[in-house]
């Protein structure tokens, strides 16, 4: 049996010290996201059991209670802006469960598809599908926290029709594109929640937004890890990562969300960023947020592909070069 001799230290979030010789339980270092997953599976010989243990430890280390978090919020004193931010967050979070369900299913199918031709890619897919159970559970915290709080503050109830509409499943695409889209979705959510935290005055609500933003950044780190591993495998092309980034960063792109002059109407699924109702919460969102998102998306591309870009225009140029004619 392979021992956990590798150093799961290179967390994308720059957390955790370098691990010394691990003990048999693998608990002598803080749990981290494995930034070099392909390397862990190949050169370092980590098994899926070991990788799953690291996922479990990180999940346990980050668990928190929705009930306790809500107890810390002075519901009666929340301002109209705070209530609007909570209501929007609750609706948006409804779309995460179908995303996680779909990821689990697609990763499992992809695992089977690669099992004979490239067992390392199959293992990456399995690691991703396995982790999706933690992602789903953590997003359940976000959804229920915000929707319960919105109900407690007397905000407009979400009808079952809307609940079902927001639960529709996004159509399948290639796995690398899917992971990059999810990473950008997490980046967008994290920046938005950071803005909400800054705009909130209730200490308990600020803590909730900060906790959820931190969770989203951790999720982004996992998506980057899986996406990078696929590119490192040589079976997936960097151009697909850049294509998704361009879809978001281009003029009138997805990053504009519901503020765009025109939002594509779909009957297949809901992109949460298309459906934010910012009429009552516009004050929470500052202009620098879009620049921060652009910066983080460019950073994500660098981590996944090794190619450095700094602006939306450079993303487009690089993508065009990678696509070829």
């Amino acid at each position: 049996m392979t021992t956990l001799a590798a150093e799961p230290t290179a967390a994308l979030a720059a957390t955790g010290p370098t691990a010394a010789a691990p003990d048999s339980a693998g608990t002598d270092h803080p749990p981290v996201v494995l930034a070099e997953l392909h390397d862990a599976l190949t050169r370092r010989g980590m098994s899926l059991v070991e990788i799953t243990w690291e996922q479990q430890r990180l999940h346990e280390a980050r668990r928190w209670s929705v009930v306790e978090m809500l107890d810390g919020i002075d519901v009666a004193r929340l301002t109209p802006l705070e209530r609007a931010m909570v209501w929007n967050a609750g609706r948006a979070e409804l779309t995460t469960k179908p995303g996680a369900d779909r990821l689990e299913r697609q990763a499992d199918a992809e695992c089977g598809r690669w099992q004979r031709s490239n067992p390392t890619v199959a293992a990456i897919m399995q690691a991703c599908g396995t982790w999706s159970r933690y992602w789903n559970e953590e997003e359940a915290h976000h959804e229920t926290a915000f929707n319960r709080l919105a109900a407690l503050t007397g905000m407009e109830a979400i009808p079952d029709e809307t609940f079902l509409e927001f639960r529709q499943v996004f159509p399948d695409d290639g796995m690398l594109r899917t992971l990059v889209l999810l990473a950008i979705s997490e980046i967008t959510a994290a920046v938005n929640y950071g803005q909400c935290r800054a705009a909130a005055t209730d200490p308990g609500l600020r803590a909730l937004f900060a906790q959820v933003a931190a969770d989203e950044i951790q999720h982004r780190n996992y998506f980057l890890s899986f996406a990078k591993a696929l590119v490192d495998s040589g079976e997936y092309q960097a151009k697909d990562a850049f294509a998704v980034a361009h879809l978001f960063l281009r003029e009138d792109g997805e990053l504009g969300g519901s503020a765009r002059e025109r939002v594509e109407s779909r009957d297949t699924h809901v992109n949460w960023w298309d459906r934010l109702d910012t009429a009552d919460s516009a004050a929470a969102f500052q202009p620098e947020a879009s620049g921060r998102k652009e910066q983080l998306v460019c950073g994500a591309l660098q981590k996944i592909t090794g190619l450095t870009v700094r602006t939306a225009a450079e993303v487009e140029d690089t993508w065009m070069d990678l696509v070829g004619a």
């Binding site: 159509p171 281009r250 792109g253």
Partner: protein, 109 residues
């Protein structure tokens, strides 16, 4: 009206990359959404974007003009897309300058 050489080039190149005939793409008000549905090589907006990018790169290679297309709604008819493509081509052709940008290989870290 005379069909310009660049228009013929764009139509045939896009059709080739989409895996469709020009007639399937440019007749009867076919929209972008319908083009995606009909194409054996495209399944979503990202594939569509890539087909435009490849067409644009081909134009750049053979005509020396870099065309950038804006985001277009999926209900845009292909005739409208073509008109936008040509308008951007004309605009860029008047101001096109050699790029000093580094290659992808030079950007790798």
């Amino acid at each position: 009206m005379e069909t310009r050489a660049i228009e013929t080039y764009i139509r045939s190149t896009f059709a080739e990359y989409a895996g469709l005939t020009e007639e399937e793409l440019f007749s009867n008000g076919v929209t972008l959404a319908e083009a995606v549905n009909r194409s054996p090589r495209m399944t979503n907006s990202i594939d569509l974007m890539e087909t435009f990018a490849r067409t644009s790169n081909a134009v750049r290679k053979d005509y020396g003009v870099r065309v950038r297309l804006p985001a277009l709604p999926l209900d845009t008819p292909m005739s409208g897309v073509l008109a936008t493509f040509l308008a951007e081509y004309d605009r860029e052709a008047g101001t096109a300058a050699p790029s000093a940008r580094p290659s992808v290989a030079e950007m790798a870290v």
